[in-house]
């Protein structure tokens, strides 16, 4: 009977994580945050392992979802700030310039191996010629 109860709880947890994943995805937030629900499972496991107070096992499954729900309700939802009339690649334009197509060497915050800085220049052409 306890095994059945534990299995039912696991199935319920899996379904809840799946639902939270979808909800977070719709709001434009990474669905991986839903896996924070596993924290409550870990707390219950540890509490039963060290034979801690029963109240911890009783309340742990409620505390993490309650915190998640409160944070989610008051956090900004990136999907809701997107421009629905814009082109697919420009929907989040107001959140900053799209830098996906920039060369890494154009970004001052990234370090680039100096040997890759002038790829395509006369020096690299000479090297390629020398190798072949």
């Amino acid at each position: 009977m306890p095994l059945m109860h534990g299995l039912l709880n696991l199935v319920m947890l899996a379904v809840t994580i799946w639902c939270y994943w979808r909800i977070l995805g719709r709001a434009g937030i990474s669905g991986w945050w839903a896996y924070l629900m596993l924290l409550s499972l870990a707390v219950v496991f540890l509490d039963s392992f060290i034979r801690g107070p029963a109240i911890v096992s009783l309340l742990a499954p409620y505390i993490v979802p309650a915190i998640l729900i409160w944070v989610f309700a008051f956090k900004h939802w990136p999907s809701f700030e997107a421009d629905q009339n814009a082109d697919d690649n420009r929907r989040f334009a107001q959140q900053g310039r799209d830098q996906r197509d920039d060369m890494p060497s154009q970004d001052p915050h990234r370090t680039v191996n100096p040997s890759f800085m002038n790829l395509g220049g006369p020096e690299s052409a000479r090297r390629r010629k020398g190798k072949s």
Binding site: P65, I69, W70, F74
Partner: protein
């Protein structure tokens, strides 16, 4: 009995944010109250939020 009391405390704590989430999503507010059903209430709310269309969603999802 303790489980039901814990469920009710949880429901009281999360009813307001759930209300707000439904409001932001453009859904009716009544799903927030299903959280008062012990044990199966919270999964029902999560299911409704996850699989119903959100009228306020910019892409109509």
């Amino acid at each position: 009995m303790p489980l039901i009391v814990a469920s009710l405390i949880f429901a009281l704590v999360v009813i307001y944010p759930l209300w707000r989430i439904c409001d932001r999503a453009g859904l009716p507010k009544w799903p927030a109250f299903t959280v008062f059903i012990p044990i199966i209430g919270p999964p029902i709310v999560a299911y409704l939020l996850a699989f119903s269309r959100w009228p306020n969603h910019p892409f109509g999802r």
